[in-house]
Symmetry: C2
Subunit: 120 residues, 2 copies
DNA sequence: TTAGGTACTATACAAAATGTAAGTAATGAG
DNA sequence: CTCATTACTTACATTTTGTATAGTACCTAA
């Protein structure tokens, strides 16, 4: 993050894949390291920047900002700034963001199952 | 890919996340650029290395090998080598690999929906 | 006047993922 | 002997992602 080179092979490969495979498309959008975790916290309702930060152990402010910006660009979260001092900014899932709920649920189930299998 | 430094902050962050969030765990496992596409082709039945290569436009042999190795390590695909010349190697989803079907389905649906929304 | 809280931004760097180009081994067909 | 076929390796370059650390702007309260 956050510059992508629109001339790289990597870029055009992703584009081509996203074009034909909705699942690859989806995974480039929600595939970031913190993306899904952020969304799954937001499934519980809107949160402020600082609140999110507390929920995500070890995330740096830069990363949190970048991920939120990307989510915003992709219309997965909405950002509301309150003109107060000190500032207050709230993040909330959009409808398509909330629609991630079933995706996350499936991923969680599969993840749990896989983890058990591997740890045997 | 494919060396991960077990001393890096990034590594321990991923570990910590994977520990508490099955969805983050799942996404580190199936989050590779080609992973899901490979799996979704394999959902249709076993395929040889060369067949997979043809299905995946632009993938290099190196990338295909790496991804398949990772999938194998994670017990998502099984690898069968036939002692012939020229060699024949078949890849097939394991049960937990087939279990990705519903994950992929959800991702596809969400991806389609999201794509439509964005392109408006 | 100074310190403090909030949500950032900037810069530099480290690590991970992906890509390119060239090889290799085995063997049977010609 | 030479060539084609298949599934890889290897060495290296580039791109993408993540971390560390230090700022900034704003007002308010002490």
């Amino acid at each position: 993050m956050s510059e992508i080179k629109q001339t790289s092979t990597n870029f055009s490969n992703k584009l081509a894949l996203s074009d034909e495979c909705p699942e690859a498309y989806a995974s480039t959008i929600i595939g970031g390291q913190w993306t899904l975790v952020i969304c799954s916290w937001l499934l519980g309702g809107k949160l402020r920047f600082g609140e999110l930060k507390k929920k995500l152990p070890n995330i740096t402010e830069r990363m949190l900002t970048l991920q939120l910006r990307k989510l915003e660009e992709n219309k997965i979260v909405s950002r509301t700034v309150y003109a107060e001092v000190p500032p207050r900014v709230e993040y909330e899932l959009t409808p398509i963001g909330y629609a991630l709920k079933s995706v996350i649920k499936e991923l969680e189930e599969w993840g749990d199952r896989h983890k058990k299998l591997i740890s045997e």
